[in-house]
């Protein structure tokens, strides 16, 4: 059986701006129909990646393909199959929202857009089409960009922090739209800081840090890599436990203990068995925990500072 061509694939994609290495040998593969969450702190290289995928910037080395089309040598060909939402809504102040949508739609030439869907989106995002862009707030401008991208029904949506500036209601409208896109088999690259959004929408997640992809996988896979937190309270004074493999004490109180557990939880349960345990809570790491772990320290540095994280 022939494998489908990936929607996005990069080979050692690297970009250097003068002294700064913005992207370092990125190997990214997003299959058609996937919603891929692209995470990373400010300046990690998310926007650089998207600019390289769009052929707006030229790779220093390596290359990128969208549906098998080279991003740099045939941008127009690649762009026929994608739509883009920029991180900042820079539009033409003198056009109305409706005129902006029309202009961006006509740029697609014969492919055009789904006009019935446009009307639906305008209603869903509560967009005032006759209002001039200069009179729109940042969030409303962002909505113009979103409608312009979604109405294309493009095979691939490249979204660079698309919900920045949106209120919670519009955030829900956005999630509905992405779910619809996913149901239609569209591929989405979602760069975002809103972790709940990524958790809710994305099939796979990649975490970028100083230009390098340091973690990648499904949410379940990423959770597996991270510690789970266990809290125990005792009838009397908290006991002193012997050192256990994969278990770290991250918080102590007169009659309570907090642990972080990597891998099997059994040794901890066994060690606690002889003591008068009143309550035992365990929770899986949230995306935020995973994320902060990668944000908060060098990937290869020794794990410490766990106390801070456990207190969150």
């Amino acid at each position: 059986m022939k494998l489908p061509v990936p929607a996005i694939q990069t080979w050692e994609l690297t970009k250097r701006y003068e002294e700064t290495l913005a992207l370092d040998r990125l190997e990214l593969k997003v299959e058609p129909g996937e919603v891929y969450g692209y995470l990373g702190p400010n300046g990690a290289g998310k926007t650089t990646t998207i600019r390289l995928l769009l052929g707006l910037h030229r790779p220093t080395s390596g290359r990128a393909e969208l549906f098998g089309i080279d991003a740099w040598t045939d941008p127009v060909g690649a762009h026929r199959r994608l739509a883009y939402v920029a991180g900042e809504p820079y539009l033409w102040p003198s056009l109305t929202a409706g005129e902006t949508l029309e202009f961006l739609a006509r740029l697609r030439g014969t492919e055009g857009v789904d006009r019935a869907y446009r009307d639906q989106l305008i209603e869903r995002f509560d967009l005032e089409a006759d209002k001039k862009v200069r009179a729109l707030s940042k969030g409303n401008r962002q909505k113009v960009q979103l409608v312009a991208a979604l109405e294309t029904r493009a095979d691939l949506l490249l979204l660079d922090e698309p919900t920045s500036g949106l209120d919670p209601l519009m955030e829900m409208a956005f999630r509905d739209s992405i779910t619809e896109a996913k149901e239609r088999g569209q591929t989405v690259l979602l760069s975002s800081h809103i972790l709940s959004e990524v958790e809710a929408l994305c099939d796979r997640i990649g975490i970028l840090r100083t230009g390098r992809l340091i973690e990648q996988g499904t949410l379940a896979e990423l959770r597996h890599l991270s510690a789970q937190t266990v809290e125990a309270t005792f009838a009397g004074a908290a006991p002193t436990l012997p050192p256990l493999p994969g278990v770290q004490v991250t918080g102590t109180a007169p009659n309570a203990l907090r642990f972080e557990v990597h891998g099997e939880i059994e040794p901890l349960i066994e060690a606690l068995a002889g003591h008068q345990v009143l309550t035992l809570h365990s929770r899986e790491p949230s995306l935020e925990d995973i994320f902060l772990r990668h944000y908060g320290q060098e990937p290869d540095a020794h794990r410490d500072g766990g106390e801070d994280r456990a207190d969150r």
Binding site: V76, H79, A86
Partner: protein
């Protein structure tokens, strides 16, 4: 922001704000100061070397006194038989125009420009009152005026003009700066955007220039001089019976305009102007079909304003061209005039040829502004959104170049046509074809500068404005002053302006035009390739 209302303000904010404002204006001020110093040095120095004896100077003075063509650019000469009088005429007139443009640009930049960018909001969110922001702007404008005054004074003194007189002459020129800066500041209060403020202020300054031209070239209209700051600079009469009392006019006008601007600034919402733009409109779907269409839609207003202003100018000068006559001008002096780069301007057609050659510079500026608009589209990151659609980079840039060419062509034809209509009205017999040829003669050099601007844009986007306007300014200044330096022929011929025939008085220079266009085509081709291969660059 300019305001006279007293606000409760942390005094310590002022030095920081003033420093910021000065830095904001520093490039424009430095470039203008350079032009002022060089230009005011070359003129008296050159005059001294060309007209060595008093007798030569008298002949020269006599012929120049009657030359209306020269008055157009340089203003009214009072006494050109002395080095100082000549300097007053050649330097004062031209630099006053420069000063007006500088004042307007800085005036708009430091008021509406700051506001448009959102920076002013940030400043006023700090414990800084509107009055403080206004004072900082005033200090920056005042400093700019003083810097230009010193630059001109230094240039004149180095060129051998007595220091006292030079100081007064430079002062006369410099008076134009605050008035036009105040016009810019007021336009910045009226218009809700920087581009509209520039159009408003630019239109006003164009009218003020036209008033001075009419006053200096049409008999009986001399009183118009009292209505324009460019006229006041002449009425101060440096080296010709100084009238320092006239200084009250620019001082009073500046104070009045600034008070008005401050009054408006104190009362209005930040970000809004006194003139309101509608926030909603019915959809207009024309010219939304392509990036070229959108560019035309956005540039249409500016192109119409340029064409309207310059064509009206041509019509007016066409009507007065009748009064140009070769009487009293000897052949030798005509040659001397030609040496100054102004051609044989002693006949109506010669005069109109000179007008066209002057307009050629404006056409070159126009094409540079179009490439500047393209750069602005990229710097604001809107271009990323356009190019993320299935639109190619080369067609996009080619569209902007074609738009610039179209604008230049329309301007050239309109100027040729209106100059002809004006000449006919004035009773001069000039064939329409020849007048149009005179207009079209500006196009090859405009094409050349378009090619240079496009190349600069593709190769060094952040520096493209400086490069394209810089090359244009240096080329034209060299054409104006080169001959005075006694430089060898080949060095004078380095500027492309030396190769533009004074059509219709002289024949169209086909070879030179072909070389210019060919160079432009090569530059444009390279530009398209470079642009295809480079990263898009933000601010």
């Amino acid at each position: 922001m300019l305001t006279a209302t007293a606000g409760k303000t942390a005094r310590t904010a002022e030095p920081a704000l003033i420093r910021r404002r000065l830095l904001d204006a520093r490039v424009m001020t430095a470039v203008s100061a350079y032009v002022f110093a060089i230009y005011s040095y070359v003129q008296p120095a050159g005059y001294r070397s060309i007209y060595k004896t008093a007798a030569e100077r008298l002949v020269f003075a006599h012929s120049f006194g009657t030359s209306k063509g020269l008055r157009l650019l340089y203003g009214l000469p009072y006494d050109v038989a002395t080095v100082s009088g000549y300097a007053a005429w050649r330097v004062g007139g031209v630099l006053a125009i420069f000063g007006a443009i500088y004042g307007l640009l800085v005036g708009v930049r430091l008021t509406r420009g700051e506001e448009d960018s959102g920076r002013l909001e940030l400043v006023l969110a700090a414990p800084v009152g509107r009055a403080t922001a206004g004072v900082a702007t005033l200090v920056a404008l005042g400093t700019g005026t003083v810097v230009l005054w010193v630059a001109e004074l230094a240039g004149l003194a180095a060129g051998g003009v007595p220091v006292g007189g030079a100081a007064y002459l430079a002062l006369a020129t410099a008076t134009v700066v605050p008035v036009c800066a105040a016009i810019g500041a007021l336009a910045g209060q009226l218009a809700p955007s920087r581009s509209l403020a520039l159009q408003l202020g630019g239109g006003t300054v164009a009218v003020l220039f036209l008033l001075r031209v009419l006053a200096d070239t049409v008999g009986g209209l001399g009183w118009l001089r009292w209505l324009t700051p460019l006229g006041w600079a002449e009425l101060l009469r440096p080296f010709a019976g100084a009238q320092p009392a006239v200084l009250l006019a620019p001082i009073g006008a500046t104070a009045l305009l600034l008070a008005l601007a401050g009054r408006i600034a104190a009362d209005r919402d930040i970000g809004a102007g006194l003139l309101r733009e509608r926030d909603r409109s019915e959809p207009r779907l024309r010219l939304l079909g392509s990036p070229f269409g959108l560019a035309l839609r956005h540039q249409r207003g500016a192109l119409i304003a340029w064409t309207g202003t310059l064509a009206a100018f041509c019509y007016l000068l066409g009507t007065i061209s009748k009064s140009i006559s070769p009487a009293d001008v000897t052949k030798g002096v005509q040659r001397e005039i030609a040496k100054l780069g102004t051609g044989l301007i002693t006949t109506p057609t010669g005069y109109l040829s000179f007008v066209f050659s002057l307009l050629g510079v404006f056409v070159c500026v126009l094409v540079c502004t179009q490439i500047g608009a393209a750069r602005q589209e990229e710097a604001s990151l809107r271009l990323e959104t356009v190019l993320a659609a299935p639109t190619g980079r080369r067609p996009w840039l080619a569209g902007r170049v074609v738009l610039a060419l179209l604008g230049a062509a329309v301007l050239a034809v309109a100027c040729g046509g209106l100059a002809w209509a004006g000449a006919r009205t004035g009773g001069v017999h000039l064939a329409l074809g020849r007048s149009l040829e005179g207009g079209a003669n500006m196009l090859p050099i405009a094409t050349l500068f378009l090619g240079i601007a496009a190349l600069a844009y593709a190769a060094a986007p952040r520096w493209s404005g400086l490069i394209s306007y810089g090359v244009l300014a240096v080329s034209y200044l060299w054409e104006l002053v080169g001959a005075l330096t006694g430089a060898p022929r080949w060095l004078l011929d380095i500027t492309p302006f030396a190769h533009v025939g004074l059509v219709p008085n002289e024949p169209f220079r086909v070879i030179a035009a072909l070389i210019m266009v060919a160079t432009a085509v090569v530059a444009g081709g390279v530009a398209l390739e470079l642009f295809r291969r480079r990263d898009l660059v933000g601010e």
